[in-house]
């Protein structure tokens, strides 16, 4: 499943443009802070509308001149920099949020499989703001996987973690890449992360 992206968007006095294709494995969008990497992910997710261009996943068009699928129809999972868990739902209800909405045919992982895969069984009854950064990021990953995405977007998922937790989450990301074979578009400005995780690298500059 390849993703084909050619987008441009003006935000204030900045203009963001990106054109690349991402195949299987983990494609790192690598570049300095403020280069518009997150905006590219938001455009793929449908949270930011490009001024022009196209976004395709496999043979599905998410965006072009004629099509603009809403985020809920894109089947693109998104793991945000800050986790962005729903504060009024326990971990369990965060995990099941997307899982319960999407058509059953779109799901490719059960709740129990996800919980086991991420090792979060002991967190299910906790509230989000009682979680450490690493725990929250595992739950955020589980929540995205359970919604049955065809593609996963990750926006600097390690940036709020200490060194020890970074290694843990990187191992999880590697297993998503290698065991689940889910293509990942990964934003980072950190060379060591990219060297360890990336199958291919796209440089995003000013």
């Amino acid at each position: 499943m390849a993703i084909d992206i050619d987008v441009a968007r003006r935000l204030g006095d900045r203009s963001i443009a990106a054109r690349f294709t991402a195949g299987p494995g983990l494609t790192a969008l690598f570049g300095p802070s403020g280069a518009g990497k997150t905006s590219v992910l938001n455009m793929v997710a449908g949270l930011l509308k490009p001024d022009r261009g196209h976004i395709r996943i496999g043979d599905r068009t998410l965006f072009d001149g004629a099509t603009d699928l809403p985020p809920e129809a894109r089947r693109v999972g998104y793991v945000f920099q800050d986790g962005r868990l729903f504060p009024h739902r326990r971990v369990r209800a965060n995990l099941t949020y997307g899982h319960d909405i999407v058509p059953p045919a779109h799901r490719w992982m059960t709740f129990d499989e996800a919980v086991q895969f991420l090792g979060i069984a002991h967190l299910l009854d906790r509230w989000p703001h009682s979680l450490s950064g690493g725990e929250a990021q595992r739950v955020a990953i589980g929540r995205a996987l359970l919604a049955g995405p065809e593609f996963l977007l990750m926006d600097e998922p390690l940036s709020s973690l200490d060194t020890a937790r970074r290694g843990d989450i990187m191992a999880v990301i590697e297993r998503i890449r290698d065991e689940l074979k889910l293509p990942i578009l990964y934003v980072s400005h950190d060379r060591t992360e990219v060297d360890r995780l990336a199958t291919s690298v796209v440089a995003i500059g000013e």
């Binding site: 809920e72 999972g77 729903f86 504060p87 949020y97 997307g98 509230w127 919604a147």
Partner: protein, 231 residues
């Protein structure tokens, strides 16, 4: 302790206040949402209109209601000819006056909590497959709930305390529009009415305090659990 007449006054006040607040709630929420989330021409005018009852003398608000809903007013005539309904000198008119006076407080309380919602959470819900409507019901509304509860209590307290607009619009008719404040005012005019004034005043205090305690309890119930678990 209370005479049947006094119980009737309390029941009427609760009915007027309850109907006013519950009928206003959806409208006030829609206005709060509109003002918090949308930029449109006339927004400033709408904002000012919503706040008008807060700054106008209540008597003027009552007089404006009288002009609009009276038998020859534009709305009153229309209600009369299409539905055979008149709000004049009826408890429904008292509820309308209370609702108009409560509206700005309710909109303000809910608008604040809507503005406090992290909109990125709604974006996250969309990427998980939620339609805008589903995201509203499962994310935005629950997160705005403390503001909704605050609006209910503030609006109810304002409604059962309403005096000026009510007496101007629907007069002071025993059993129909004589709510607690109007009954207290009437009892003050009657020689030897002090005992009744005292009882009704104490009742007013009890009702207001009760509403306050209830809201505290509701807010704790919806929010407190999350907070405690966070420790």
């Amino acid at each position: 302790m209370l005479s049947p007449e006094e119980w009737g006054i309390v029941a009427l006040s609760l009915k007027v206040g309850g109907v006013a607040v519950l009928a206003t709630l959806p409208i006030a929420f829609a206005l709060a949402w509109l003002l918090a989330r949308h930029r449109f021409p006339g927004r400033v005018v709408l904002d000012a209109l919503v706040h008008l009852p807060l700054v106008l003398p209540p008597v003027v608000t009552g007089w404006l209601l009288l002009i609009a809903f009276g038998p020859f007013g534009p709305v009153g005539r229309w209600l009369e000819s299409w539905f055979g309904v008149s709000l004049m000198f009826r408890w429904t008119g008292a509820a309308l006056a209370a609702a108009i006076m409560a509206l700005p407080l309710m909109v303000r309380a809910m608008r604040l909590s809507i503005e406090g919602i992290d909109r990125r959470l709604e974006g996250a819900a969309r990427t998980l497959g939620a339609s805008p409507w589903h995201s509203f019901w499962t994310i935005s509304l629950p997160l705005a709930l403390p503001g909704v509860l605050a609006a209910l209590v503030l609006g109810f307290a304002r409604s059962i305390g309403e005096f000026g607009a009510t007496i101007t619009f629907v007069s002071n008719i025993p059993g129909e529009t004589r709510t607690l404040p109007l009954a207290i005012y009437s009892a003050l005019q009657v020689p030897g009415g002090e005992a009744m004034v005292t009882r009704l005043a104490l009742l007013s205090v009890a009702l207001s305090l009760g509403a306050l305690v209830l809201s505290e309890w509701l807010v704790r119930r919806t929010h407190g659990e999350r907070q405690r678990h966070g420790d």
